[in-house]
């Protein structure tokens, strides 16, 4: 009996020893976007915040893997998880997660830091669900040295014109990348393709991200958009079978079939595209803005860092278009430490925090006055803000709860067409039928 009492006392002491520090250190747990510049910037920003925060407000970071992130997050939130107080939210998933989150008032100054249009990327049903930490859009990366040499060489220009005529049926001439149409880009990609032009100094004219993956559809979307494409018309009818989508899908397939993009492009996503362009064997790449830091770093991409140019995606008949995708942090409805979480989110929306986040490698879209303060260290953020305000768009229906399944559906059907498993007509018909089903929910 004595032994039992002693054991009981020991166990109780052990439990108390482990539980008490937990009570004493009620922290704010933040679930962030894992890997890449977002994680690095958030870690650095939180480190600064923790130096000034009280014990109860100190932030602890939690990261899953990127693979299946949104699915795991959905399962956790639907199960009422309180494992994190603040969670990641993205423009295209707000509708999906809003039922498990609480709106948050960021204060009047947030609009001065980010601008109303950027704050809207974190709104659903008119309510603010998060602080916009990163804005993602796409840059057209190109090799300045290759384009400059092409523009100066008359024989090369003649070959370029012949290739454009043969493959695109148009007598095009080389142009400055900032005034490219999609046809100009395609002709340039074909010219720099070894399989098309044996004199090409590089193996491929471009790198297409064609893996069956929803994020790749975001990259592709700007092509049909610049031809006037949209998911739905004003009456809510699905319009994915438009000429704009046909043109975009056919152009990708034409380039892939001609060997302008690596053979394994059907398994390429962000990392593979970066590796291909950084190898110095590709002339152009339509890629996420987050890659700018790596592709222009002499340490990470020594072969191309000093010759990489950046412009907005090429133009179509409706001008240029750049797909905006905002990441942010918002409040979990089941948060254990809501007060601490709200204090952290409000601090994150201040100018000081946004600038710190930018200097630490993040990609916040900041208002012109604020971005001017980091323009020297982060010139890409100036481009980010400029492209977002001039060319940024969100497809009709793309903030609904079904937005991500729509991208998934497009990824499956479009890659089926690009890989030659189904015709363009079938791909568009399947996509339209699936989107009608998803968007009416």
């Amino acid at each position: 009996m004595k032994l039992n009492r002693t054991s009981f006392a020991l166990v109780a002491t052990l439990l108390a020893g482990t539980a008490l520090p937990t009570f004493a250190n009620a922290t704010v747990t933040v679930l962030g976007w894992p890997g890449g510049s977002e994680e690095t910037a958030l870690r650095a920003t939180v480190e600064t915040y923790n130096k000034q925060a009280s014990d109860a407000d100190k932030v602890e970071l939690l990261f899953f893997n990127r693979e299946g992130f949104y699915d795991k997050l959905q399962a956790d939130m639907a199960a009422g998880s309180s494992a994190f107080d603040v969670n990641l939210v993205a423009t295209y998933s707000i509708g999906r997660y809003a039922p498990y989150m609480e709106p948050v008032d960021l204060g009047a100054d947030a609009a001065k830091v980010f601008g109303e249009s950027v704050l809207k990327t974190m709104q659903f049903d008119g309510r603010q669900y998060g602080v916009p930490t990163d804005l993602s859009l796409h840059f057209m990366y190109y090799r300045k040295d290759l384009i400059d040499a092409l523009m100066k060489d008359d024989a090369a220009k003649k070959t370029y014109g012949e290739i454009a005529q043969k493959y695109l049926g148009k007598p095009l001439q080389p142009k400055d990348p900032d005034s490219w149409t999609w046809d100009d880009w395609a002709a340039t990609a074909l010219y720099f393709t070894k399989q098309v032009n044996s004199g090409s100094p590089v193996r491929y004219g471009t790198v297409l991200q064609m893996k069956n993956l929803l994020f790749n559809m975001m990259v592709f979307q700007s092509l049909p958009r610049s031809y006037g494409g949209d998911w739905m018309d004003k009456d809510g009818n699905v319009t994915v079978d438009s000429d704009a989508y046909r043109t975009g899908l056919e152009l990708y397939k034409k380039l892939y079939d001609a060997g302008s993009s690596p053979k394994d492009s059907l398994s390429y996503e962000y990392a593979e595209t970066n590796a291909a362009f950084a190898s110095g064997q590709a002339a152009t790449a339509l890629q996420w803005n987050a890659a700018a830091a790596d592709l222009t770093s002499t340490e990470k991409s020594p072969a191309v860092a000093e010759v990489t140019g950046i412009v907005a995606p090429p133009a179509g008949p409706d001008g240029r278009a750049d797909h905006i995708h905002g990441l942010g942090l918002g409040l979990n409805k089941n948060a254990k430490n809501k007060e601490g979480a709200v204090r952290f989110l409000k601090w994150l929306a201040t100018e000081d925090a946004a600038l710190l986040y930018a200097r630490s490698g993040g990609s916040p879209a900041l208002s012109p006055d604020v971005v001017a303060k980091v323009a020297k260290e982060r010139p890409d953020l100036v481009k980010l803000g400029e492209f977002a305000s001039k060319y940024g768009y969100v497809m009709s229906g793309a903030t609904s709860a079904s937005a991500l399944p729509v991208y998934e559906l497009q990824a499956k059907e479009f890659t089926g067409y690009w890989s030659g498993q189904q015709s363009l007509e079938d791909a568009l018909a399947h996509t339209k039928a699936g989107m009608q089903d998803l968007l009416k929910k």
Partner: protein, 288 residues
């Protein structure tokens, strides 16, 4: 006198039965309910019974049958390749391994790596600009095949799976081969049997139970493949590398079609149960 009375036996078994009921029985019942319900992530705790519509949707879905065909082909091919190579290695390396058993350790190493890691590793190894395999192919032959394009992805996945799991089959076969008494082989040798005849008429018949078990274990593992395929090609261009497990995962998480995903898993469970029950009966008949 029995060492343990019937009452004591029941008492000892109670925790195990309780555990199984809680951790296997409860999810199974929830699955069955979800499979005949309309349910979303928002209504996980309040599904609405809606009949067998989910089963009809699954059985009419061409993607379900496409993924079932992928899993069947993948399971059969990888199991066959792993068993054949494993058997060859077990017999070929047996004399060496009996003298240098330490060599078993490096041969077993692939089993220690998580399948998802293997997928990620090959994603790097086969990448045209970062991987050593395409690099040397370009150096030596001026070109490299697209290992993960629509024509080669299936073959690449089969090779990757086979490379990782052949050591498992090899280990079983080597143990079975080593367990055959030497005097049996010596006797047949004295009777004038050639080494090939000894393998054909002595070793293989004695190893048959192990061969069958290893084949089915590897088939089941290949049939339910998920991690390395998902890490390497995802569901593939146009869904071309969608295994049944990936189909269920996608229906559940990507489409949010929980009822359909669960119905597919029930169909898979029933099919597996029928096959395993058939095998069990077959084994029972052989014993009898």
């Amino acid at each position: 006198m029995a060492l343990v009375t019937r009452a004591e036996g029941r008492m000892y078994l109670t925790p195990l039965v309780g555990f199984l009921l809680l951790f296997l029985g409860f999810p199974a019942i929830v699955n069955l309910i979800y499979s005949v319900s309309t349910v979303t992530f928002e209504t996980l705790r309040s599904p609405v019974l809606s009949g067998f519509g989910n089963y009809v949707a699954v059985l009419n879905d061409r993607e379900f049958w496409g993924s079932a065909w992928f899993s069947l082909r993948f399971g059969l091919l990888t199991a066959l390749a792993e068993c054949l190579i494993g058997l060859f290695l077990a017999i070929f390396l047996a004399p060496l391994l009996s003298k240098r058993p330490v060599l078993m350790a490096p041969l077993m190493l692939p089993l220690m790596v998580a399948p998802a890691m293997v997928g990620l590793m090959y994603r790097l190894v086969l990448h045209e600009f970062a991987g050593p395999v395409p690099y040397y192919l370009f150096e030596w032959f001026g070109d490299s095949p697209a290992f993960l394009d629509i024509n080669n992805a299936f073959r690449t996945l089969v090779v990757v799976e086979t490379l990782q799991w052949t050591p498992f089959a090899f280990l079983l076969f080597y143990m079975a081969y080593s367990a055959i008494p030497l005097d049996v082989r010596e006797a047949s040798s004295l009777d004038g049997a050639s080494p090939l005849e000894i393998v054909r008429w002595i070793d293989l018949p004695l190893m048959k139970p192990t061969l069958v078990i290893a084949f089915f274990i590897r088939f089941i593992d290949g049939f339910r493949v998920f991690d390395n395929v998902y890490a390497l090609t995802g569901s593939g261009a146009g869904g071309s590398t969608t295994s049944l497990s990936i189909y269920i995962y996608q229906a559940f998480f990507k489409e949010g079609a929980i009822g359909k995903a669960v119905a597919a898993s029930v169909v898979l469970f029933l099919a597996s149960f029928i096959v395993l029950h058939g095998l069990n009966r077959l084994a029972g008949r052989r014993k009898g």
